[in-house]
């Protein structure tokens, strides 16, 4: 998954929510934005430069080594992939790919558009994809996103410890602009996932020094090219005049400025010396203070970030095992009231385990179990014989993670409806919190955030709830559910696959491995210099749309 980098002030708490308070360093351009736009315009009619708030990447700027939003956002603008996700809907469409064909959902033939060039002027060819994917998967390169290549045949061999095999048998270059990718088993959503940053092609120059030069000056085939920058000072990107596919920007230059706090960035939005801020500080969302500060200068976007509360694995704490008890707890939580009270209404209530922005989403998968119903909840709770000892919900605090208020509200809701004791249990840092979860030493129920990697229903089910999956923190295991996922993966058409995934999602209601809470809406702000400012469903700046007034 891509970690949501909590910049010390994010209310959204997602995968790595609260990972750190980012105090970046340097970002010039504070003044440049206060000046009228540079007026420099490229031959292709792009003009003007804007500043946006950024954050400090945690890993080298290599597509397969970036797993959090700070680095991912920059690389996403620089790189082009086989497919491109629509900013509004997340729908994939071919970008560098001319076509991605398969007869059996197992072997895919990928034809590339000819004439697509990297920013260094070299052609994007089939080998640039194959080499890049092999580089990402090979254990010797220790790439953080290696597991994304798991569906491809031969991944097992290259990812084994101390493996000497560094190419996956499933990838074959046919000619300069064609290659085939064979999956380990049928995998219908493959064309959907290859728009993720880790699947970006890499230029020949990358492999000369395994990316040492590349990470200081990334080269892609995307709408923006890298100009300068480093993690502390932010980055300057310029529109590539040669780029002529979907998503061509109107602006010519964008500066990612690193801020030490949301408040500092917000102050610059108020005084129009920053052009776009993706997330306003939580403090100004309450009571809609921001609407007074920046009237008509805010946008909101529901993004693929999902918040849930997991039940502990049975062998860690079996007191929550009774499904009736789980249903009772879920029905005792008045989600909408909490959203309104704590988040000023800026969340979309969950009716299942999947974010509404993805391909295959269907409302109501959780049905009555996720609907607030105090009488039924109390009744079920009594039938289940209550819960021995207090119900606890642990979460990470500090570093700007803002979960305390809503977890407390959830506990309060449970306490009022079930008359059971419920204790919010904070853990000091995100690191310590993840440490507890990974070593299965969690205390009672625990908060779990998820940020999607690619806009598919599958990304919310397989990694989280299939048996022994990488992020299955509550050790949920349900043979029927696994079989359904497998069945869905084996469908040859995307629609059929999605239908099967939906059926799998509905199965989760019986066991309630977790309480779905909500999807995030991000509220951001912009200056009076720009129009059409907004975010994509991935929560990144929609730089293709923004224009200068």
């Amino acid at each position: 998954m891509r970690l949501e980098q909590m910049r010390g002030y994010r209310a959204v708490a997602v995968g790595v929510a609260g990972m750190l308070v980012l105090a970046g360093c340097g970002g010039g351009g504070g003044k440049s934005s206060a000046q009228p736009s540079s007026g420099a315009s490229s031959a292709s009619g792009q003009s003007g430069s804007i500043t946006v708030s950024g954050c400090r990447p945690q890993n080298p700027l290599i597509p397969s080594d970036t797993n959090e939003t700070c680095g991912g956002n920059i690389l996403d603008q620089i790189t082009a992939k086989l497919v491109r996700y629509d900013a509004e809907t997340g729908e994939p469409s071919n970008d560098i790919a001319e076509s991605i064909d398969t007869k059996d959902a197992k072997t895919y033939t990928i034809k590339l558009k000819q004439g697509v060039k990297f920013h260094d002027g070299t052609d994007v060819k089939a080998k640039n994809f194959v080499d890049a994917w092999n580089f990402g998967a090979y254990a010797g390169n220790a790439q953080v996103d290696a597991s994304f290549f798991e569906p491809i045949k031969g991944y097992k061999d290259v990812s084994a410890k101390d493996s000497k095999v560094d190419t996956m048998s499933g990838l074959k270059v046919v000619d300069d602009y064609t290659f085939t990718a064979t999956m380990e088993r049928k995998y219908a959503i493959f064309p959907l996932i290859v728009g993720y940053t880790a699947f970006a092609p890499l230029p020949d120059s990358f492999f000369a020094d395994k990316g040492a030069a590349f990470q200081k000056h990334p080269i892609g085939a995307g709408p923006f090219k890298f100009v300068s920058g480093d993690p502390d000072n932010g980055y300057v990107l310029e529109a590539d005049p040669a780029y002529d596919r979907a998503g061509k920007p109107h602006i010519q230059k964008v500066t990612y400025k690193v801020y030490t706090s949301a408040q500092a960035a917000y102050n610059d939005i108020i005084s129009n010396s920053l052009d776009m801020l993706d997330v306003l500080p939580t403090s100004v969302l309450v009571g809609n203070v921001y609407q007074k500060d920046i009237p008509g200068r805010s946008f909101e976007k529901t993004v693929g970030q999902f918040q849930a509360i997991d039940f502990p694995p049975s062998n860690v704490d079996s007191s929550y095992d009774n499904p009736k008890l789980r249903h009772a707890i879920s029905m005792a939580v008045d989600r909408q009231a909490i959203i309104d009270a704590v988040f000023g209404g800026t969340k979309t209530i969950a009716t299942g385990w999947v974010s509404p922005v993805v391909s295959g989403y269907k409302e109501g998968a959780c049905g009555e179990w996720c609907t607030y119903n105090p009488t039924r909840a109390k009744q079920l709770y009594d039938e289940a014989g209550g819960h021995k000892g207090p119900i606890t919900i642990s979460y990470n605090t500090g570093e700007g993670a803002d979960h305390g208020p809503w977890i407390t509200a959830v506990c309060n809701s449970i306490h009022q409806v079930l008359n059971a004791e419920c204790d919010p249990t904070p853990v000091a840092t995100f690191k310590a919190y993840r440490d507890q979860i990974q070593s299965r030493k969690m205390h009672g129920m625990f908060r779990a955030g998820w940020q999607m990697d690619y806009p598919s229903i599958e990304d919310f089910l397989t990694p989280l709830y299939s048996t022994k999956a990488s992020s299955n923190d509550n050790d949920y295991s349900n043979a029927a559910f696994d079989a359904k996922l497998k069945d869905a993966g084996a469908k040859t058409s995307l629609d059929e696959a999605n239908l099967a995934y939906e059926m799998a999602e509905q199965m989760l209601g019986n066991d309630m491995p977790s309480l779905p809470m909500w999807s995030s809406k991000l509220i951001g702000g912009f200056s009076n210099r720009v129009a059409n400012a907004g975010l994509t469903v991935f929560g990144t700046y929609n730089l293709a749309a923004v224009t200068l007034k």
Partner: protein, 307 residues
């Protein structure tokens, strides 16, 4: 004099070693696996985890790691942080911002603080003295973040007198943060100046100077101030180090990309090497400042001699 300085310099070595080891041990003694949370909600791939551990010697015992760190330090190599970014350039970029901020704060402290202190010492119990007492007490009583946020709101956002944030660290941008950073010490400096000068003004030699018919300016400026400023200089010298290390809050409010932010972030991310390197430099600054202060005494007060 030269021998004294050399002796002091040699004394710095064990202090530096001890301080860096303590910091190093403390940062790494924080609970939690540095890799936990590195890959978000999923465990890191085995190969990635292995490479990471090897790179940062996480499997070695602490003293061994510290020695390895020192070895690299001796070669002038501060190493990389966990994101693979070299640490040295980060520190190099952060220090100028903070030094500039601290220098401006010190300048304000000396200018305003000592200036007000002298005025109030001369005109004791006047209306100005009372007003200054109230204002300095308020400044001492208010936490820095309150002063910072309030000034930022009114001067920066509401009335646009000064820039609200200082992303570029130009002198113009840093005026407000420097004042905020200096506010507390400024108040102390003016109180100390007032007290110590008032005391000196009652001394016999000052009366003698007056009796000789020297101008008031010369009596205060040359005779009294030289003696009266010794405690103030001690305070301001020690304060310079504190300003550099303690600018975390101010830098955070005004978005100054300096050392305070770097350290704060590095501690949160368990970037032991970064923290140790930054703090080592901080300790060095402290030691050098205290040496400078001691040498300044000799300049100000001819009775003080170093052998």
């Amino acid at each position: 004099m030269g021998r004294y300085v050399l002796r002091r310099m040699l004394q710095m070595i064990p202090v530096l070693l001890g301080a860096t080891f303590l910091i190093f041990a403390m940062v790494f003694a924080l609970p939690g696996d540095p890799l936990a949370g590195k890959c978000g909600d999923r465990p890191c791939p085995e190969a990635y985890a292995q490479a990471y551990r090897a790179k940062f010697h996480l499997d070695d015992p602490l003293p061994v790691r510290y020695v390895k760190y020192l070895g690299n330090l001796a070669k002038g190599d501060l190493g990389d942080d966990s994101s693979g970014t070299p640490i040295a350039p980060q520190i190099k970029r952060a220090y100028p911002h903070t030094i500039k901020l601290a220098a401006m704060a010190i300048a304000l402290e000396i200018g305003i603080g000592i200036g007000i202190g002298v005025l109030t010492a001369i005109r004791r119990r006047g209306i100005l003295d009372k007003a200054v007492l109230v204002i300095t007490l308020i400044l001492i009583g208010l936490p820095v973040f309150v002063t910072g946020v309030v000034l930022q709101y009114f001067l920066g956002i509401k009335w646009s007198v000064l820039p609200a944030t200082a992303g570029d660290s130009s002198v113009h941008e840093l005026l407000m943060p420097a004042f905020v950073l200096a506010s507390l010490s400024l108040a102390y400096a003016s109180r100390i100046t007032r007290t110590s000068l008032a005391e000196v003004l009652r001394a016999d030699y000052v009366r003698t100077a007056r009796a000789k018919g020297l101008t008031r300016r010369r009596v205060i400026g040359v005779h009294a101030l030289r003696n009266g400023l010794i405690p103030v200089i001690t305070f301001i010298g020690a304060d310079f180090g504190a300003l550099i290390g303690g600018a975390i809050v101010t830098e955070g409010i005004f978005n100054v990309h300096g050392v305070g932010n770097l350290v704060f972030r590095a501690i949160g991310q368990k970037e032991g090497n970064t923290v140790t390197s930054v703090v080592a430099i901080l300790v060095l600054v402290f030691l050098l400042m205290s040496l400078l202060v001691d040498l300044l005494y000799a300049v100000i007060d001819p009775r003080i001699r170093y052998e």
